[in-house]
């Protein structure tokens, strides 16, 4: 069986059927991977996992952390964990490497970094560009992006909107795709990334937590908000949330340039491939032009009165650009 992710065919080529099943399960749990078809003529992605020995690799080290490092090579990148590696050929859309049993059996949040980086680099060459953003759709069908760094409140806002009846794509990462009708956001990351402090306001999330350890926990929310998951949306509004010590949430309009710069901040990864950058920037510029950007200073009402915040965002999505400095209590 082959798979698809955000419309891009994926072929898994593993040394054993068991390993292929295991890899498919990991990718389906972490990302919005679904069954699909793959042909050699399709511009897809191939993941080839074997017991190959890692050959010496030379290249510029572009990222280094204890659990993951990346070298830039002639054909793409070489990603390495302490006991596994993936070599990315971005020209051919292929990742080849060897993954240890210990890596494959480690908690998913430990594996996520390697898979995320590999897929985002491969998908960018296939016209799917990552944005560090949550995404939700109002009851009347208006798409809203919540773009920002970790800790800016994307997950909290996405959960507040889901509780108020909105649909959601993701709390943390979407892919952007250029279409003749405009820029489309595609659901990418599956589980929500919840700080344990959220569980005080959203106890149902704590019950669904699948990674009981320190730091953010992965939470599968499909059963908490049934029927509210969406695969894609056309964003009408792009919000850049900031947590502030006020009672009421406030939205402050941004110019197209300010919106594009903030989108670049959340979309231009530290590790990037130059062949994809021009197209990625064009998509972000199209989004900054077609959707309206706002700083969203969200206050205590996100927890106390999420329906008020949902009403504010619905108002923005219905008449974007026509509002100035809106407050949630207005």
């Amino acid at each position: 069986m082959d798979y698809a992710l955000c419309g891009i065919p994926i072929r898994l080529d593993c040394s054993t059927i068991c390993a292929k099943r295991q890899l498919a399960h990991i990718l389906q749990t972490l990302f919005s991977v679904s069954p699909g078809s793959f042909s050699t003529s399709s511009r897809g992605i191939e993941l080839r996992i074997s017991n190959a020995t890692e050959e010496p690799v030379t290249g510029e080290v572009v990222f280094h952390a204890p659990d993951l490092s990346a070298l830039r090579t002639a054909r793409g990148y070489h990603l390495r964990t302490p006991d596994s590696f993936l070599s990315l050929d971005l020209m051919d859309g292929r990742a080849e490497g060897s993954l240890s049993d210990a890596f494959l059996e480690s908690p998913l949040e430990k594996q996520r970094g390697l898979w995320l980086l590999a897929l985002l680099l491969l998908l960018a060459r296939r016209g799917r560009y990552a944005l560090h953003a949550g995404a939700a759709v109002s009851p009347d069908g208006q798409g809203v992006l919540l773009a920002g760094v970790s800790g800016s409140g994307k997950t909290t806002l996405t959960c507040a909107l889901a509780r108020s009846g909105w649909s959601y794509l993701s709390d943390d990462s979407v892919l952007l795709k250029d279409t003749p009708a405009g820029v489309e956001a595609l659901a990418f990351g599956r589980p929500f990334h919840c700080a344990p402090a959220m569980f005080r306001h959203y106890p149902e999330l704590g019950a669904q937590s699948v990674a009981p350890r320190s730091g953010k926990r992965l939470v599968e929310v499909a059963s908490l908000y049934p029927g509210q998951s969406r695969s894609h949306a056309q964003p009408r509004v792009v919000l850049f949330p900031e947590i502030v010590a006020t009672a009421e949430t406030q939205a402050i309009p941004l110019s197209g340039t300010e919106t594009l710069v903030r989108l670049l901040r959340n979309g231009a990864a530290k590790i990037h491939h130059r062949a994809s950058m021009a197209a990625q920037m064009a998509v972000l510029a199209k989004l900054a032009t077609s959707a309206h950007g706002y700083r969203l200073l969200h206050g205590a009402d996100v927890h106390g009165h999420p329906q008020r915040v949902a009403a504010l965002l619905q108002q923005l999505a219905q008449s974007p650009g026509g509002c100035n400095d809106l407050h949630s209590a207005a």
Binding site: T257, R274, M281
Partner: protein, 94 residues
Amino acid sequence: MTCIPQPDAEVLAMALPDQDIVLLHQDSGKYFSLNLTGSLIWRMLEASACHADIVRELVDRFDVTAEAATAALREFLHDLTIQRLITIPREEPA
């Protein structure tokens, strides 16, 4: 003879409807936004305008003296050079 700075080949420039320009350096991944004045200068650099033409345009558009415009242009070009957004071609012998 004065050399005319050129936008670096690695730089992507995106003009938005609000007239500002956003620059992205493909090699470093760094991005920059230019205000109205910076965007005007950038467009003139793209058109290979010389220093004197740019200064004249700044004086005409922004009601500044030629000395102030020259100093501002020099500082702006210095910043662009530091960020590798422009290159200054080697001076050819006359």
